[in-house]
Amino acid sequence: MGIVDHQGVLKGLMVQDAMRRQVIRLDQQASLADAVRATIKYKVNAVLVNDAAGEGVGVVSKTDLMGAYYADLPLDTPVTAVMVGPPVFCSATDSLDDALDRMREHRIHRLYVEGDQPRRAAGVLAYPDIVGLLYRFCNQCERNLRRQGGGGTALADRFTLREVMTPGVYTHREDDSLIQVMEGLAAHRFGAVPLANQEGVTVGVVSKTDLIAAYLHGLPAAGPARDIMSAPVQACDQEETLASALHTMIFADIHRLFVYKQDPRHLVGVFSLSDAARIRSGTCRACVVSRIKIG
């Protein structure tokens, strides 16, 4: 267990403090359909591909599977056709800060944790795994404003979504084709996109998960995005606190929230659990020092 340090909340922590031990893996013979099913069933964004000896040789993410849908690859194509390899490994005893830096450097969202034998994954670390740690430190932090019972003042002093969200929302029209939506998501590196109707009002959202499920169900990619959208959109007002947004995400079992300003029909930003982890600080202003340093 690390030390709570206001210069950086995660200082002194190791990968093993945050990693997950359940690694979802497929063998090289597995099909794209198997990979889509694994991501849906285990609620993961990527699956490790192992060779016959059990060594990790590649990673297939929802983005890669969406690419397969876009390229109209048959569902029985082996995963090796779209996987990205080799996987990037780290060690369980690496510092969490180093691991986060490596993720940023490689522009990847997860690191596999090497076990006793080389290239064999004993765990996996992704951004949302770190959010739990941030929470633990918030709860233990002496300077936690909510614990001090400051009432209204403390609440006002916590981060609001407005301060931590990614401003601006990239949207599609509800009658755009799945092909167009996939192009948009790939170009902007987003996981989901809200759909707007003729009047510009948000009516639903299409995520990579929705797209790869459509792929598995054999839906034509030329069809309208509206057919596979989820509604209503999970959204919060920009004046809500970061802590409350995290609660909403946990409760709805999602990792992305759209943000609106007063009117839920018009979105102004987006906030994800990965963003929460990238901030590397907790949910109140006691962490502001570290946030400024990293930001």
Partner: protein
């Protein structure tokens, strides 16, 4: 004492369509339990052509219900979770059986020897095995039933 799968397999069993939703599957699980007079932990998924395409087990449904961020919960003492099970179930209900079923089926033939059946159950951690003849499922061999028959010989 029976010696091959054919002699211990259950020949009357309910199955699921791959297009069914989890809500519909839940209904079949309940019906199967009523019919069998015991809890049913897994059902075969069979397509329109009668071909076995997968198996849906209790474990698959548990995985679907388990929140993505369950590991964060322990850190959030102040999290109000009232109603969260209903929320998780509502989400799971709409998912299709084909999206979450297990597709790498381990199957046996009616003539598979019972000691082979036991060996497969031990090595592959499965509790039930579909018995396939001419590409169709003709029965299911349950671990419990094999054990019961074995007990007769162990007495």
């Amino acid at each position: 004492m029976p010696t091959v799968a054919r002699e211990v397999m259950e020949t009357s069993f309910l199955s699921l369509s791959p297009q069914a939703t989890i809500a519909e599957a839940g209904e079949v699980f309940r019906r199967a339990a009523d019919t069998a007079g015991r809890t049913v932990f897994g059902l075969m998924v069979i397509d329109e052509a009668g071909k076995p395409v997968g198996m849906l087990s209790m474990y698959d449904i548990f995985l679907l219900i388990r929140p993505k961020h369950i590991h964060i919960w322990g850190e959030m003492e102040d999290l109000d979770v009232a109603g969260i099970i209903d929320r998780a179930c509502a989400k799971a209900k709409q998912v299709r059986v084909s999206d979450v079923m297990t597709t790498d089926l381990i199957t046996i033939s009616p003539e598979t020897h019972l000691l082979h059946v036991i060996d497969i159950m031990i090595k592959r951690h499965v509790r039930r095995l579909p018995v396939i003849e001419d590409g169709r499922v003709v029965g299911l061999v349950y671990m419990s039933r094999v054990f019961r028959r074995l007990l007769e010989r162990l007495a």
